[in-house]
């Protein structure tokens, strides 16, 4: 036993030295970008004049502080996904930020300088309505949280509850807002829709009801949408139907006074619901008496409340966005208005007078491939001469944040759409112009000896010229200090490197924005916002033509499918430049069930995309005559499958020559018992180098390499701990033959599956032992291969041998993928995304069902590691060392031009790109290769031979004299 352990340890040590990052490689091949998601709330930290923080709370349940100078993160806190981590409100006071989380379940206070938690309290159940900070005598010490049925007040210092009171008449009244202006009273505003407003006034001290009033308001349905408090406690509402203001003094509460908008010479755009915007610069004091009224999509009006009278101050049309900002005692209004097609301008206006402030224009250039501006956040500050300066943060529809300084210098841009990458592809970069010229020489038809020679000479000349240029650049750069030498990658100088290690990452985000990112530096080379994407769309990205077919441009096709209707659209674009292709995609009037890329190519080298609609009709894109002819010829060998998880049906179809389809098999998995969770095929670009494994006795165990094999994962509908199970079905996608079926009892999902070569690895939760377990299935043909030249699903009489083994894994996992290399010679690793943010590279060798329990001579010969029930997580195996990736959603692997190297991109909230070498770098010199040593040894040997030669001569001479 001790021997066993020793051997096992040896193996572990041996393997530990194989895969790890060296400290000096940090940042050499890898980069990470951290995101926060679409911003929901944002506050500039103003309690210190020189503060560089802006706090953001986002729709992806992230609370973070950004550096306003660089746009980088100071700190970031990632909460649970889903509604339980949802941020309902963000209130800031001094260096504390108070968050209401999870529909009013938790109240948290953060220390914004350190980024640590001050306190966290659990609130009573009830759905959250509103929250506000409560001030008293110019001091803010409490926070009030309004729920559907109760209001509670907490101390800001420790979160303890000061008092909680149930609201009166909660059956009828819908309480929606809470307001305080620092006079020791808390106002709770509720509404009975289309009847009246209820106002309850609580004493700050003990929560006693001071006053309770109801005021007739038959026109009002939602307070938060149409009312604000302005000036000295004047509740001001706007009614779109009655086209008038209603005002109510919260302190007096007599009656609502109606002021028709016409009396102020204001007109609301037809069909637009007017919106009010007020500003409370100091939470312990009253709000400003100036406020904005939005009358149309691009029409704002600044108004002032003066002694109970509303006066119009200034009209802004066209104006896209408005915002208030306060610095010191001064409050300004920022108005963004369109300048021309590609730019907007922001101007500051004094809130008190409505006058435009001089020299406050700021130009915002709009990206033609981006979205419209959506929100404007203004950071105002006092300059030395006491005038107001400002910076603006603009949020656009495509979730981009741009921070701009006067007069229009963009300080930073954050593409928050990248926090939600759905799918991606890596595309080879094109050849440079000169390389393409050389390639072109071989492609063209020969036209005479002389011209060929001339062409050859000219291309050699071009090469020489490029080489001299390169040398000159090297020489020129060498004289400059290293920090100044910048290799800026732009779209113009993009070209493939020697080993094809640099690629274009095409990323599709849930918001519908597409990005082209350089894999070497992480720089965004192009972006394209698709503004007609439905909010719950499913995406599938396909490369139809690679860069290998010069002069035809590469072509990617994005299938966007509305999950509700099933209707799909195609977006065809050039993956290198992001431009929409001139190829018009076909209109798809029917819902699409399945799409498949065929290895067929049309005369322009574009792969054929087949789309199957809900009538089981097939359409091809591109659908030229050539393609249709090829399809007819190939039809007998084109099969596809469909999955209907709601009915538990898997069915296989065959293409007929007239492009109709025929069902050839069907597997029903009873949906009452179990449901299909995922179906995984193999990756089409995967190569398997060796057909079999050499055993200890020198015989060969052949792998079962069925390219049509599907791994179907099912979960039981019975979720009882004792009875729940997960199932794995291996089905041949052509014939529908069930190759293998495995059931894991007392287990439940989520199940993560990787299917590659002749193995399937899956991970599940064992309910019996409360731990995560890995299981591996390997398929072998046996000692003899049935037909070694070609694999056909239709002619495979022998069922494969199935081996299976399971292991304990000491962590839950987020996602899993296998490495992929050019020719499949390199051994495989599994890349496992962990909730802690690490990406573990686990050698497939550890997940091998042939790992023996008892070591024999043969298993040692085969280099099999003895079986150990627990797989270890070693931090040395983390390919991303301390660069954690939050909420890993997917890991994308792509082969590079080097067989040893696999490119890896992990995406989730963050994006991380690196290279892995599963079998070390066997085909290139290591980056720590000691050139000094080898050259000094060479020189030493050289001189030694020189000297010994001379000595030998002398000796010979001496002997001759003797």
């Amino acid at each position: 036993m001790a021997k066993l352990i020793l051997l096992w340890l040896k193996c572990v040590v041996l393997w530990a030295t194989v895969e790890a990052v060296f400290e000096d490689q940090v940042g050499k091949f890898d980069w990470r970008q951290q995101y926060v998601g679409k911003v929901r709330f944002s506050h500039f930290d103003t309690h210190v004049q020189s503060s560089k923080k802006v706090l953001v709370a986002t729709e992806r349940n992230v609370f973070a502080a950004l550096n306003t100078r660089t746009g980088e993160l100071f700190w970031r806190h990632v909460d649970k996904t889903g509604s339980e981590g949802n941020i309902d409100a963000l209130l800031q006071h001094g260096q504390d930020a108070v968050l209401v989380v999870g529909n009013g379940r938790l109240l948290r206070s953060w220390e914004i300088n350190v980024g640590g938690l001050n306190w966290e309290v659990v609130l009573d159940s009830g759905s959250f309505q509103s929250a506000c900070l409560v001030g008293q005598q110019d001091m803010v010490k409490h926070v009030a949280v309004l729920k559907k049925t109760a209001i509670s007040v907490h101390y800001l210092s420790n979160g303890h509850q000061k008092w909680i009171e149930n609201l009166p008449e909660t059956e009828t009244v819908d309480y929606q807002a809470v307001y305080s202006d620092g006079n020791g009273e808390v106002y709770v505003l509720g509404v009975v829709p289309h009847s009246h407003i209820t106002i309850v006034v609580y004493s700050m001290e003990d929560g006693e009801i001071i006053k309770q009033m109801s005021v007739e308001a038959p026109w009002l349905s939602n307070i938060q949408a149409s009312c604000v408090v302005v000036g000295q406690g004047m509740l001001t509402c706007v009614d779109s139907a009655g086209v008038s203001f209603y005002m109510l003094d919260l302190h007096l509460q007599l009656q609502m006074t109606q002021v028709p908008l016409q009396s102020l010479a204001l007109e609301v755009d037809p069909g637009f619901h007017p919106v009010l915007l007020s500003h409370q610069p100091n939470l312990a004091r009253q709000p400003l008496s100036e406020f904005f009224l939005q009358l149309g999509p691009d029409h704002y009006q600044l108004l002032q409340l003066n002694n109970g009278q509303i006066a119009a101050m200034r009209d802004f049309k066209p104006a896209l966005l408005v915002s208030f900002a306060t610095t010191g005692e001064k409050t300004v209004a920022a108005v963004m208005s369109p300048k021309n097609k590609t730019a907007c301008s922001v101007n500051l206006f004094s809130a008190e007078t409505g006058r435009r402030l001089l020299d406050t224009t700021l130009i915002v250039n709009m990206d033609p491939n981006g979205g419209k501006p959506e929100k404007l956040y203004v950071q105002a500050f006092l300059k030395k001469d006491d005038s107001v300066g400002y910076r603006a943060m603009v949020q656009t529809e495509d979730h981009t944040l741009t921070f701009i300084q006067q007069p229009g210098r963009v300080m930073w841009t954050r593409e928050e759409a990248l926090s939600d990458v759905v799918t991606m592809e890596m595309v080879d970069l094109p050849l440079t112009g000169t390389q393409a010229e050389l390639e072109g020489e071989f492609g063209k038809k020969a036209d005479g000896l002389m011209s060929m020679v001339m062409k050859r000479l000219s291309s050699q000349l071009i090469l020489l010229q490029a080489w001299i240029g390169h040398l000159w650049k090297l020489f020129y750069d060498a004289r400059k200090p290293r920090s100044q030498v910048k290799n800026d990658v732009t779209i113009e100088n993009l070209s493939r490197d020697e080993f094809n290690l640099q690629k274009m990452m095409v990323m599709v985000t849930a918001s519908g924005k597409l990005f082209g990112i350089d894999s070497k530096t992480g720089g965004i080379l192009w972006r394209h916002y698709l503004d007609n994407v439905p909010p719950n769309a499913a995406f599938k990205l396909m490369v139809q033509r690679t860069t290998a077919h010069f002069p035809h441009p590469p072509q990617c096709t994005l299938l966007i499918k509305d999950k509700d209707t099933g209707l799909a659209t195609l977006h065809v674009f050039n993956p290198i430049f992001g431009k929409k292709s001139h190829v018009t995609p076909p209109a798809l009037p029917q819902p699409i069930l399945q799409s498949l890329m065929l290895p067929l190519m049309d005369q322009d080298y574009a792969k054929v995309l087949l789309l199957v609609d809900d009538q089981y009709k097939v359409s091809a894109f591109p659908s030229t005559k050539n393609v249709l002819q090829q399809l007819q010829e190939m039809a007998a060998s084109i099969f596809f499958y469909l999955v209907d998880s709601s009915q538990g049906r898997l069915s296989g179809f065959r293409l007929r020559t007239d492009l109709s389809t025929e069902q050839i098999w069907e597997v029903i998995i009873p949906p009452e018992v179990q449901k299909i969770v995922s179906v995984k095929g193999k990756r089409p670009n995967e190569h398997v180098h060796s057909q079999g494994r050499v055993m200890g006795d020198r015989s060969v165990l052949y792998k079962y390499l069925n390219p049509n094999l599907l791994a179907v994962v099912t979960e039981s509908t019975d979720l009882h701990q004792e009875r729940s199970f997960i199932g794995i079905l291996l089905i041949d996608g052509v014939t529908g033959r069930i190759i293998h079926e495995a059931v894991q009892r007392k287990a439940r999902g989520p199940v993560h599956v990787v299917h590659s070569e002749n193995w399937v690895v899956y991970e599940y939760w064992s309910t019996k032992s409360r731990r995560n377990e890995f299981s591996v299935i390997e398929l072998y043909e046996g000692m003899e291969l049935y037909n070694s030249t070609v694999f056909s699903s239709l002619d495979r009489p022998h069922a494969p041998q199935v081996l299976q083994q399971s292991y304990i894994f000491p962590s839950s996992i987020s996602t899993m993928e296998a490495t992929l290399t050019e020719k499949g010679i390199t051994s495989r690793h599994l890349l496992i995304g962990l909730p802690s943010g690490g990406i573990l590279s686990l050698p497939k060798m550890f997940l091998d069902p042939r790992r023996p329990e008892i070591v024999s001579e043969q298993s040692r010969e085969e280099n099999l590691i003895p079986y150990a029930p627990e797989l270890l997580i070693r931090t040395e195996w983390f390919i991303n060392y301390n660069q954690t990736v939050s909420r890993v959603r997917g890991i994308y692997t792509a082969p590079s031009g080097l067989e040893s190297t696999c490119l890896v991109v992990a995406y989730g909230l963050d994006i991380y790109q690196t290279r892995v070498y599963p079998s070390k770098q066997f085909d290139v010199l290591k980056d720590d290769y000691d050139y000094m040593l080898i050259s000094s040894v060479l020189f030493a040997l050289f001189f030694a031979t020189m000297i010994s030669k001379r000595l030998a001569e002398v000796k010979l001479l001496n002997r001759a004299w003797r």
Binding site: T17, A20, F22, E23, D24, F74, H77, V78, D79, K80, T81, R105, L106, V114, G115, G116, L117, W119, E120, V122, S125, A538, K540, K563, I592, L593, Q594, F640, L642, V643, D644, S645, S646, K675, I676, V677, S678, V679, L719, H720, Q721, S724, G733, G749, P750, R770, R771, I808, P810, P835, S836, E870, T875, E876, N882, T884, R887, L951, V954, K955
Partner: protein, 253 residues
């Protein structure tokens, strides 16, 4: 080939997932109660949680990194309960509380990119009784008590990197291959210098000792070989390897 029906069902599973956990909790809770009965000695850590919040409880504890100020690392730390099922954050003093956890058995981990913390298993009964024990995935029912409220001490920084193999003269010289090559060379070069082979007495003595070593006169090979070798090396040492001898020779010419 991928399918569009599958993702929609996946979202369904996540919805159902919460249901599973809820159902599980009851059973696990029963289990935990059973343990508590068998485990008579209740440690000092076990106490009824003061959170009267329905069936939801609070896991409390403190994480400590010896010698490092808490401000320097708390902003990057999180407390993960059973993967990312429940998430807690660290206060500025290093203490933490994960709220809203139903009864059951959970693995609690403090996660930072810089420091390593050992995970702890926390069992919560339906009545809110807590206990902490070492995580053992193989023997899942084994109980080795840990203090509760949790005291999790960092066991040092994570080691992410491998050390580069540095090249040194000592490594080179101590290499067995090099030793094997260098030592015989030294013997060949140095021995003739130490032992003066020109001295006839010495030579006689050596021959004697050689004869003593192999008394069989039938095998004179070795001594012959030795003398041949020594005479040869003598010559070479005179002409080749020692530069002292050659320089005057060059001058003479």
């Amino acid at each position: 080939m991928s399918l569009y029906e599958v993702p929609s069902s996946l979202s369904l599973t996540t919805a159902l997932f919460t249901v599973i956990t809820l159902q599980l909790i009851f059973l696990q809770a029963a289990l935990v109660v059973a343990w508590c009965f068998t485990d008579i000695e209740t440690g000092p850590g076990a106490g009824v949680s003061t959170q009267p919040n329905g069936d939801r409880f609070k896991i409390e504890g403190r994480a400590i990194v010896p010698g490092i100020k808490t401000q320097d690392w708390v902003s990057t730390a999180r407390v993960l309960v059973e993967g990312e099922e429940y998430v807690g954050f660290l206060r500025t003093d290093g203490s933490f509380a994960v709220n809203d956890v139903p009864s059951g058995s959970y693995v609690v981990e403090v996660v930072t990119p810089t420091y390593r913390f050992e995970p702890v298993r926390v069992d919560i009964t339906t009545k809110g009784k807590m206990r902490a024990r070492l995580v053992n995935y193989i023997k899942t029912s084994e109980v080795i008590r840990q203090p509760y409220p949790l005291q999790i001490r960092a066991s040092g920084p994570h080691s992410y990197f491998m050390k580069r193999e540095t090249w040194g003269w000592t490594d080179f010289l101590m290499n067995p291959m090099v030793m094997m090559m260098v030592l015989p060379l030294l013997i060949i070069v140095l021995l003739p210098k130490v032992v003066n082979t020109n001295d006839p007495e010495m030579r006689k003595e050596m021959e004697q000792s050689m004869n003593m070593l192999n008394p069989n006169p039938e095998l004179p090979d070795v001594s012959e070989l030795m003398t041949k070798l020594f005479s040869g090396s003598k010559g070479s040492s005179k002409a080749g390897s020692s530069s002292k001898g050659t320089r005057p020779a060059a001058k003479r010419r």
